[in-house]
């Protein structure tokens, strides 16, 4: 009976998602000179290697930076008053409703060579020349971290909220200095939340397309844009599909491995027991 309620969603997923996905797998194995040639090209081509390393480097740095900043903000959210928390939440959530395109161009407006940040730097005499802040790797990473922060903060905050504050009091009563209580009790108990935030943020970072395209100014090409270029400029559907398949495998592997330690219940709003 209830099957009929799920059916529309299942059909939608099947025809618009699983079927095209299967077709990509097909293309990666059959297009051009076939399976071996396509995957061989991905594994041996020097430009692709450079692009993959750029992607991995940017994703690793932005994921670590996002998680660090998110952890701090989530921890502060936990300590502040109800009223301050409401305002902080608003500041975290409002950017989510602004298009990623608008945000990328906003960063360019703020950070370009004649923008307010560079004007301030020169006015205060910190630099004589404008500092290159966008259209390079730094600009891409800044835009990505900014975009991903809410996705790091919210699961971490949800997990931290589930930690009984009495445990910290208990640790201190037993003789732990505040930092020791944090390191021995709070940090280990917040790890499941950190794992789920990691999975969400890292997978997010792998798929960035618009932000690197605009803030990288064509100089920084990450995997999503590379695949798009392969297809839109008509080079090779086979290699593009092979790259996409490998990206998907990495994502699935991350979800499977890291997801086993993650605390999905509190992230998704369920109870832990």
């Amino acid at each position: 009976m209830y099957v009929f309620f799920v059916l529309p969603a299942a059909l939608l997923l099947f025809f618009l998602y699983l079927l095209p996905l299967a077709r990509i797998l097909m293309i990666s194995a059959t297009d051009g000179q076939g399976f071996v040639a396509n995957y061989g090209a991905v594994l041996t081509s020097a430009p692709i290697h450079r692009m993959v390393w750029t992607t991995v480097e940017i994703c690793a740095i932005t994921t670590v930076a996002t998680l660090l900043i998110s952890y701090l903000i989530a921890y502060v959210l936990l300590q502040v008053s109800e009223r301050t928390r409401m305002w902080m939440m608003l500041c975290i959530l409002v950017p989510l409703w602004v298009s990623v395109l608008v945000r990328a161009f906003a960063w360019i407006a703020v950070l370009n060579n004649s923008g307010p940040v560079n004007s301030l730097l020169q006015y205060t005499g910190l630099t004589d020349e404008p500092v290159q802040l966008v259209r390079n790797q730094f600009g891409v990473m800044l835009g990505m971290v900014h975009y991903m922060l809410p996705f790091g903060i919210l699961p971490l905050y949800a997990a931290m909220k589930g930690i009984d504050p009495k445990l910290i009091s208990a640790a201190r009563a037993l003789g732990a200095r505040p930092f020791t209580a944090f390191r021995r009790v709070f940090l280990p108990l917040s790890l499941p939340g950190l794992y789920s935030a990691f999975v969400i943020v890292f997978i997010f970072s792998l798929g960035f397309y618009v932000t690197p395209a605009i803030l990288g100014g064509g100089r920084i090409v990450m995997i999503a844009e590379y695949i798009a270029l392969l297809i839109s400029q008509g080079y090779d559907w086979g290699i593009a599909a092979a790259l996409a398949t490998m990206l998907l495998s990495v994502v699935l592997a991350v979800v499977f491995i890291a997801g086993r330690f993650a605390d999905w219940d509190s992230v998704l709003g369920g109870s832990r027991r």
């Binding site: 009984d164 009495k166 445990l167 009091s169 208990a170 640790a171 201190r172 009563a173 037993l174 003789g175 732990a176 200095r177 020791t180 021995r184 009790v185 280990p188 108990l189 027991r273």
Partner: protein, 367 residues
């Protein structure tokens, strides 16, 4: 007052305009088991948390064996605390929980292992050493919490409603366990509870707290038998309390005017201001009419039975007398014929059983 082991002097805690603790002073000796007893919101937990270091007093001093605790952080006080709900570390095993304070004190690993084993044996949890707290029952968790505090042998053990989360039977058993543990270890204990049975059965001393003030301090039997105020009489055990309009002392003893009747009473010089008469239900004896009324050491009056509830060993009777409705509780075996509602009987009690108490907590002369 000589310097005690733990001294609290004029402790005041205000939150904005609200006063949580209003000038509490206490002194207890080494080895005492003190219970802070009061209704919720009376300030008892605030006093405990001030001793623990989680509440900063607005005024006053807390001195433990000559050491002023107030400026110290919680971790510098070297006390043991069992929190409400136990606050066991869920990511550590029972043994790791107990070892935690020892590791913080930089004990050697083999010394830690030895002490953990001893402590777990003491609370009879040896075979649960490798379990997580979530795999234990409430009573077992409670014993882990105790073991975790006792492992480093603190001078003072603080208990914050340690039994409130447990069911009745388990509570009674753990009361006995905590009491025997207290005798075995010899640690000084400050316990907080709103459960008067727990206070009476476990403590060597009780401080009754109401509205941020210590209303009465004494041994359990002293508090039960000689309540100082109407509040104490009604909060500890059950009591009939009647307002006294006037007390007159003549050559043959004192009398109190209650609801237009003069009753002989024993005067209580500690009560200044408005007074009330407290009479424990079990002190009232119900008998047939026509008992001798000439005994000057007894108060005797007619009573009509309004309700009679059989409790097995005892029988509770609601009676109406010249001084108003009273509740009496008698051993069923001494009652003779089961009284019926509407019957007229004779109620009597020894004059010394009626205690003159202060009507008002604030009018109390603080010793």
């Amino acid at each position: 007052m000589s310097a005690g082991f733990l001294e609290i002097r004029n402790l005041v805690k205000r939150y904005g305009g609200a006063v949580a603790v209003d000038g509490a002073s206490l002194s207890i000796a080494k080895g005492d088991f003190l219970t802070l007893l009061g209704p919720s919101g009376s300030g008892k937990t605030t006093i405990l948390m001030a001793i623990a270091g989680f509440v900063k007093p607005t005024e006053g001093e807390i001195v433990l064996s000559g050491r002023n605790l107030v400026p110290l952080e919680p971790e510098e006080r070297d006390l043991g605390i069992v929190f409400q709900g136990y606050a066991l570390f869920p990511h550590m095993t029972v043994a790791q929980n107990v070892a935690f304070p020892l590791e913080l004190r930089k004990w050697k690993p083999d010394a830690i292992a030895k002490r953990v084993e001893e402590t777990l044996a003491m609370v009879d949890l040896t075979r649960f050493a490798d379990r997580r707290p979530a795999q234990l029952s409430g009573g077992q968790q409670q014993r882990v919490a105790l073991a975790r505090c006792l492992s480093y042998q603190p001078d003072l053990l603080l208990l914050d409603e340690p039994l409130s989360a447990l069911d009745r039977q388990l509570r009674a058993r753990l009361q006995d366990e905590i009491k025997s543990l207290h005798q075995k270890v010899g640690v000084t204990v400050v316990n907080v509870t709103h459960d008067q049975d727990e206070a009476l059965s476990m403590s060597t001393h009780i401080a009754v707290i109401n509205r941020g003030r210590i209303v009465q301090y004494g041994t359990p039997d002293d508090i039960y038998e000689n309540p100082a105020t109407r509040f104490v009489a009604r909060f500890i055990g059950r009591s009939n309390v009647a307002t006294v309009e006037r007390i007159e002392t003549k050559s043959d003893g004192a009398s109190a005017l209650i609801a237009g009747q003069w009753l002989p009473v024993e005067p209580n010089p500690a009560v200044a201001g408005k007074a009330a008469l407290s009479l424990r239900p079990e002190m009232i004896e119900i008998g047939p009419l026509g008992t001798d009324r000439t005994d000057a050491r007894k108060v005797v009056m007619d009573a009509r039975i309004e309700n009679c509830v059989y409790h097995g060993g005892t029988t509770a009777l609601d009676i109406r007398t010249a001084i108003g409705p009273l509740r009496a509780e008698m051993p069923t075996s001494r009652l003779g014929v089961r009284p019926t509602a509407g019957a007229t009987v004779q109620a009597s009690w020894p004059v010394r059983a009626g205690r003159i108490v202060s009507e008002d907590d604030t009018a109390l002369d603080q010793q």
